[in-house]
Amino acid sequence: MSGLTGLSLGEARAGLAARRFSARELTEAYIAAMVRARALNAFITETPERALAMAAASDARLARGEALPLDGIPLAVKDLFCTNGVLTTAASHILDGFTPPYESTVTEKLWAAGAVMLGKTNLDEFAMGSSNTTSHYGPVENPWRRPGDNRPLVPGGSSGGSAAAVAAHAALGATGTDTGGSIRQPASFCGVVGLKPTYGRCSRWGVVAYASSLDHPGPIARTVSDAAILLQAMAGHDWKDSTSAPLPVPDYEAALAEGVHGLKIGIPREYRAAAMPAEIEALWQQGAAWLRAAGAEPVEISLPMTKYTLPAYYIIAPAEASSNLARYDGVKFGLRIDGDTLEDMYELTRAAGFGAEVRRRVLIGTYVLSAGYYDAYYLKAQKVRHLIARDFAAAFAQVDCLLTPTAPSAAFAIGDHTDDPIAMYLNDVFTIPANLAGLPAMSVPAGLGAEGLPLGLQVIGRAFDEATVLRVGRALECAAQFGHRPTFLADEG
């Protein structure tokens, strides 16, 4: 049956419920699409046999009239989520051959809701990067190219494989994780929707840790409504994650119907200072005009600490990473390089197993936590983080949501910025603040730039108010009517 991979998640769910096609047919269509999309290098591991077995179970439930919320929906999983019995790499050489004997809470919830696992997607090594070029398994290609220019572009990062797979129709949706923009920036670069929920909304249990106080699992999808459906299944309290919020999960799909009439939308003036390209400034203003036309009220607000969010992040995240990555020592799992002594074995294993960006962040983190420097760097950054969170609290006393661009540029060519770490870090200038404050934030495709590549707008909401973020995102989606297609689509024919 052709045309199946062109359906949105909502449409596929309706088609399955009406028995217009089976979960097996839908899954087979996606397995074929995943194979056609191999040149993108979006998947590290394909799991077609598991997918077909899961689809068979979905078909049995559908036949009995006992369909689960995501029955038969083929999804890709960022290879940072541990999956029981399936290779989990974090795109790092140091996790060679690691096959978890347990399942992450988020993926467990997706399978319990009937979803089908297509495979594990590529990412920047340990989720450290904004281009998906630090992966041990090679870079991912963005399915978009500039018109008349055949150079491959980055999909963004770190959830680059997930965003590329969803954009190319090689998966109906995907999981991502976002520590400084790793769901939203690739979503913007690939022309799809990416939602980073509130810290504590989706469990981090079983997700390979990068920076624990900043890591957020969330969905990547083709539409805002699809993102709402996926978040519904992924969210909820988990006693296995001590930072998981013991709060009820509202009905996100139902909330979408509410619209944005009367909402106040904050426009943070400091975001303009960051040498923004004119086309992104114009798109941002267009977004505010769309929301005004939909009945919301844009209001200029101030986030005075904006300038300091990137430097604060590049102390806190590496510090947490240096601590989290201490476990990779050649003893319990993954790569081991033998040495004469235990110390030799540790040092040789970690030298061979970590790539350049991971090594850089572990060394920075070790430095800012080391004796004599802890107060000046790490403690100072944690205090600044407090001030950044206060900025947002003050803003949300006046407005219901914030509207900003997602990223300061469209996708760039593979290889660009790789020799200048700080230039690469600047990709996340608009996304990192919501990680430091733990707030829900979503990127929605809003238009094409002058190069013919997608650009996203970001909506940031109050803690645990993903519903309002989704409503505003839906209003942007309706106004933008982003019907553009990437250069490569994995659909049949």
Partner: protein
């Protein structure tokens, strides 16, 4: 603050990552750039501001003190590069 070669050797040793001598100069320059860039935080007045360790306002929850997991030694050892008699094996550390 600039990091010199000795500082990089010290950090790399704390981080248990072997760095070749030939890489030290370039790595020192790269890390110095990043450290000097993050040092702009010194401009911010943080007197009387508490450090923020987590955005999660919830207190750690208590649960019943009961065994909920276990009996999975072989599953845990299954990923180890080397094991011996049901243990992780490492180079000899006691003479």
């Amino acid at each position: 603050m600039a990091l010199d070669r000795d500082a990089v050797v010290h950090i790399a040793s704390l981080a248990r990552i072997r760095v070749a001598d030939s890489e030290l100069a370039a790595l020192a320059a790269e890390l110095t750039d990043i450290i000097e860039w993050v040092e702009q935080l010194a401009e911010v007045d943080t007197d009387g501001v508490a450090p923020m360790t987590s955005v999660a306002a919830t207190r750690l929850s208590m649960r019943e003190d009961a065994v909920t997991d276990g009996d999975c030694r072989d599953a845990i050892l299954g990923n180890a590069p080397r094991t011996a008699k049901g243990f992780f094996a490492v180079p000899k550390v006691i003479e």
